[in-house]
């Protein structure tokens, strides 16, 4: 299981990176964490001719909290590792649901290398960060020599391991609105064992709005070919989080047509989605009850 011969570039600046991507396009693969890419190369499932290693990119790490156009937002750079998500103070404070998601990811070695942006680019249908990104309405910054564009997570994922990223672009940053004190976030998954890849996952983000129903985003991963925001179920959850049966029926109606045929089967995955919905719903209701007391 040895890799095929490959050329290797290690750009230091973003300018160098974008020039390399512009030049090589789909002949190139971007090496960030490598935890998904290297196994594919070892199995010769993919045959890029050029490996562009971004691990020494200046200024690509880190998490910044800045004042964006729509309020304070967290900007997570291309070299932010999975492990950083759990340890970084800014992340835990301003995007707590991301930290919840990160707790499910892999073992120490995977977390030391794997990156948030890389996970988004990889777009595994059941992966934790893509799912959390959809629920959090994250925005993904793609940069190329042609310029930059910001894509909403909802629009970023187009299928199993497929995104809108063009061959000359890289995922430079993901932006998440900073959590407000009254926001609620829930993340859970069913996996073979703790930290194993998710079979099905749920991410729920609730943002109360004064005088209105809260902004609820409920997303399920691992059933469809991409993390799936369930708009109707989310609206119903906002209106009446206590009606478990109705919510379950709505989830089925919304999700079943999108279920992929894979192993293990769709009926099992839909069942798990319903189980996870119930956990999220119950979590939200408990949170509401506690808020009522205070």
């Amino acid at each position: 299981m040895k890799l095929a011969p490959i050329a290797y570039l290690r750009p230091r600046t973003e300018e160098e990176l974008l020039a390399a991507l512009a030049r090589h396009g789909s002949r190139a693969a971007i090496l960030a964490g490598g935890q998904s890419l290297i196994p594919e190369l070892a199995l010769r499932q993919r045959a890029p001719q050029v490996l562009v290693d971004i691990n020494r990119l200046e200024g690509a790490g880190g998490v910044r909290c800045i004042q964006g156009d729509d309020g304070p937002e967290l900007r997570i750079g291309a070299l932010t590792r999975h492990d950083d998500v759990q340890t970084d103070h800014a992340l835990r404070t301003h995007a707590p649901m991301l930290a919840l998601a990160a707790a499910h990811i892999g073992n120490a070695a995977v977390r030391n290398r794997g990156t948030v942006c890389g996970s988004l680019a990889q777009a595994d249908p059941a992966a934790e960060f893509p799912l959390a990104a959809v629920a959090l309405n994250a925005r993904i910054v793609l940069r190329s020599a042609r310029g930059a564009r910001v894509v909403a997570a909802d629009d970023f994922f187009t299928g199993a391991n497929a995104t809108v990223r063009q061959p000359d672009e890289y995922v430079a940053e993901v932006r998440i609105a900073c959590a407000q004190p009254r926001d609620y976030g829930f993340f859970d998954e069913v996996a073979r064992r703790p930290t194993a890849p998710a079979i099905v996952g749920v991410a729920l983000s609730v943002r109360p709005r004064p005088g209105e129903a809260p902004d609820v985003r409920l997303a399920i991963g691992g059933v469809s070919d991409r993390p799936q925001l369930l708009e109707r179920t989310s609206l119903a959850l906002a209106r009446d989080p206590r009606d478990a049966a109705a919510l379950r029926a709505l989830l089925h109606a919304e999700l079943a047509p999108l279920a992929q045929h894979q192993h293990p089967g769709a009926a099992y995955r839909l069942h798990l989605a319903a189980v996870l919905l119930e956990r999220a719903r119950a979590g939200w209701c408990r949170h509401l009850d506690e808020r009522l007391k205070t």
Partner: protein, 793 residues
């Protein structure tokens, strides 16, 4: 058996950690992949991507011209240097054993069969060249459903159908027993194909020296002598000029026991090239080409009387092997065990059993830890628990009423298997002492009252170990059931022991060391043990069927006893005292009664080696040899009972293992630390097979489990602590130290116990059982009716 001298401190029965572990802990293990030979070439294979296909054309020109490539061999090239082979056995002349070649010739018969061999200056370049080989395939329908095998077109040209063999036996009165019985329970089982997954993949380093026609093979394997004979025969070499050496081996479990075409082809390549060639299977090709095991469909019935006494078993087995019978041991091991050991722990009157063995376009099937014993246990114990439910008898009481007791032995089962001894009453007593069963049951009842799904399952099991020569002898198969030991006294007063049993981590070397030290009366670190080199060791059986200590240990014991005798004779001359007043203790010849040191062993050894004239005309031999193989009994049986307590999550279907207990007895124990290690490791594999492991194939015969991501094995977090309870052993009447093998015990009963625990939980909830392995969460949810109610698929 002579008396064993005591006072050396550590010997038989001591829980001493193996000495070799220090080196392994420091990263200094030397496995085949770590060996470096100047000028070594590296092999990679192009393997069939399909389950069944005609090879229309192979074009290797582009591959031959790739950088670093030394040679490219097709199946025909290798066949010119290497005979084919058949996994036949004279014991079953009706067994269909089509001729198999190390690499495919006209047809590829399974996904993973080697088709082209590339030899290059590095593995990476060999793989690059493999990618340039062009093969034109004509895909053929793949036979992947065992139930369709007997009616499907034969996959072997020249055979009338896909039957390998049919076994059948029947007691005269069995049908009338079933007709009259108060209760008859019936289960249909589907057992999953799975494999051993040793952490070190298979590997071989073959070096052929053309002028003396010597082949030296370093190989990760359990049976070096068997392989010496096979390589010699199949490559047309003189057996005494073939040397097989096993370096450190990273786990084997039966997977490294038989002949592999790819390993043989690499040896052939070395012969053809006159150069050393190395092949290390990567994990992907291991998953495709390692021995697979235990794919059976079983329909079974049990008849019991009103009082819950077992009357008769009826087992119909359908066994799916690969496209060939495994060579050299044949693929009969599993069905013979399923039929022979059905109902083994119990007294019953009649038996009907049949096994249809069929070919498949899937991986080669052979022996994996436990062989057919785990299935015999699972079938038996599931039926017994169903019968207990049908009769309204407590499951443990059901066992108590039916277990064979001391007064029953020797016992010939209606299956034809003869048992000299089993220890189930002792095991039951030990179980009841170790586990507070009423409290356990009360806890489960409480959990159920709270709406949780919990169950407890029991599995009584027998394992046949330490096989004698009839098993393969009657098959006229060149598989040895004997082993030997050569023991030398060196001038410095230490001992060098060369033993033909082999080490793969179970502690063989340490066990032999302990036996020798005990028999001599010396400290453990005065004995150095060497294994795994056919140039040095007696032609022995190596590791298989739980026999290392029982057979290899016996040979070591006898050699040590003989050498001790000579040492005391020499000491008697040197000390001018009768030999029977002397003994050996630690570094010294001592006075037997008082223990007073008389002469340093080192001084005696130096004198005997360098000044033999001091011994009155006697020729000091300073070396003793003994070989041993069982001749009184065809096998020695170990007994045990496993208990599993599970909690089933009704939402996710996941099974949480709350508790697992193994009660076991296996005669005399050389090293309890190592025995415990074998049982725990065996349980882990048995649980993995029951819960998560599967070599699945699609309809085209393509393997779906091709990596450790798609083939799930247990990790630490999946397993409970495994409680071990050692039961009292009845004496063994065989001609030896009274040791019974233990290597497979854990695997034999674990799956049955957890399956019974799950079904206890399901039965209590009024749900149907699951007898289809692996017991995945999806299957559990279906049994709970949870997936139907989704109303969608």
């Amino acid at each position: 058996m002579h008396e064993s001298p005591r006072g050396a401190g550590e010997g038989l029965g001591s829980p001493v950690p193996p000495f070799r572990n220090r080196r392994l802990l420091a990263g200094r293990g030397r496995y085949v992949a770590d060996l470096r030979v100047p000028g070594c070439l590296h092999a990679a294979f192009l393997r069939s991507p399909l389950g069944h296909a005609r090879i229309v054309r192979i074009d290797v020109e582009a591959a031959r011209n790739m950088p670093g490539v030394e040679a490219v061999f097709t199946g025909a090239d290798i066949a010119a240097a290497c005979s084919g082979y058949r996994g036949a056995t004279a014991a079953f002349p009706g067994l269909r054993a089509p001729l198999q070649h190390p690499m495919a010739l006209e047809k590829a018969m399974w996904n993973g069969e080697p088709v082209v061999l590339v030899v290059a200056d590095s593995r990476a370049r060999a793989e690059d060249a493999c990618a340039r080989v062009q093969v034109e395939w004509e895909e053929l329908p793949a036979l992947t459903d065992p139930r369709a095998a007997l009616s499907a077109p034969p996959i072997h040209d020249g055979l009338p159908d896909n039957r390998v063999l049919q076994l059948a036996q029947r007691s005269d009165d069995v049908e009338s027993v079933f007709a009259r019985a108060a209760h008859v329970v019936e289960c249909e089982f589907s057992f999953n194909r799975h494999t051993g997954v040793p952490m070190e993949t298979r590997g071989v380093l073959a070096e052929f020296e053309p002028f003396e026609r010597r082949l030296t093979v370093h190989i990760s394997h359990q049976c070096p002598h068997q392989m010496q004979e096979e390589f010699a025969r199949l490559l047309g070499l003189d057996a005494h000029r073939v040397r097989v050496i096993c370096p450190d081996v990273g786990g084997a479990f039966g997977i490294k026991q038989q002949l592999y075409g790819d390993e043989l082809a690499v040896c052939a390549a070395s012969v053809l090239l006159g150069r050393p060639v190395r092949f290390i299977a990567d994990r992907a090709e291991s998953m495709l080409s390692d021995i697979q095991a235990r794919e059976h469909q079983v329909k079974a019935r049990l008849a019991v009387d009103e009082a819950g006494r077992l009357l008769a078993f009826d087992v119909q087995d359908l066994y799916a092997i690969g496209p060939y019978s495994q060579y050299p041991r044949s693929s009969l091991g599993e069905p013979r065990a399923i039929l022979g050991l059905c109902g083994a722990p119990y007294r019953f009157g009649a038996f009907a059993g049949s096994s249809d063995i069929v070919f498949q376009n899937k991986g080669m099937a052979g022996h994996y830890r436990g062989v057919g014993h785990p299935l015999a246990c699972a079938v038996t114990e599931a039926l017994v628990e169903e019968a207990a439910r049908a009769c309204g008898v407590d499951p443990l009481e059901m066992r108590r009423r039916n277990f064979l007791g001391a007064e029953d032995f020797p016992y010939v089962s209606p299956t034809g298997t003869r048992f000299e001894r089993l220890a189930f009453p002792q095991c039951l007593a030990a179980l009841e002492r170790a586990v507070d069963l009423p409290a356990l049951r009360a806890g489960i009842a409480q959990a159920r009252a709270e709406g949780r799904l919990q169950g407890v399952g029991i599995a009584a099991f027998v394992e046949q170990t330490s096989r004698g020569p009839w098993f393969y002898g009657q098959g006229l198969q060149a598989v040895s059931s004997r082993d030997g030991c050569t023991l030398r006294l060196e001038p410095s007063g230490v001992f060098r022991c060369i033993s033909s049993v082999t080490e793969q981590g179970q502690g063989t070397e340490m066990g032999v060391r302990q036996v020798v030290a005990e028999a001599l009366g010396v400290e453990l670190d005065m004995v150095e043990v060497m294994t795994g080199d056919t140039a040095a060791t007696f032609h022995g059986g190596g590791t298989w069927g739980s026999r290392g200590m029982a057979i290899g240990g016996q040979a070591a014991w006898e050699a040590a006893g003989a050498l001790r005798g000579e040492i005391l004779q020499l000491a008697a001359i040197a000390l001018k005292a009768p030999a029977d007043t002397l003994s050996i203790r630690g570094d010294y010849i001592v006075d037997r009664d008082s223990g007073a040191p008389r002469l340093a062993l080192r001084a005696l050894a130096e004198a005997a080696h360098f000044r033999p004239y001091e011994f009155g005309g006697m020729q000091p031999q300073l070396v003793a040899c003994a070989t041993y193989g069982p001749l009184k009994q065809p096998y020695r049986c170990g007994s045990g009972i496993q208990l599993s307590h599970v909690d089933v999550d009704p939402d996710t279907g996941q099974i949480r293992l709350l508790r697992h207990v193994v009660v076991h007895e296996a005669g005399r124990v050389v090293n309890p630390l190592l025995v415990d290690g074998q049982i725990r490791g065996g349980v882990a594999q048995g649980l993995g097979a029951a819960l998560m492991e599967e070599c699945a194939y699609d309809a085209r015969g393509r393997a779906l489990a091709s990596s450790l991501s798609s083939y799930t094995v247990p990790m630490a977090i999946d397993l409970p602590d495994i409680e071990l309870v050692h039961a009292e052993s009845p004496t063994l009447t065989d001609d030896g130290l009274g040791i019974v093998g233990v290597g497979e015990a854990g695997t034999v009963g674990a799956g049955a116990a957890v399956m019974n625990a799950l079904n206890d939980a399901l039965a209590a909830a009024g749900r149907r059982r699951v007898y289809c392995l692996p017991l995945t969460p999806e299957r559990v949810l279906r049994a709970l009716g949870a997936l139907e109610s989704s109303g969608l698929y």
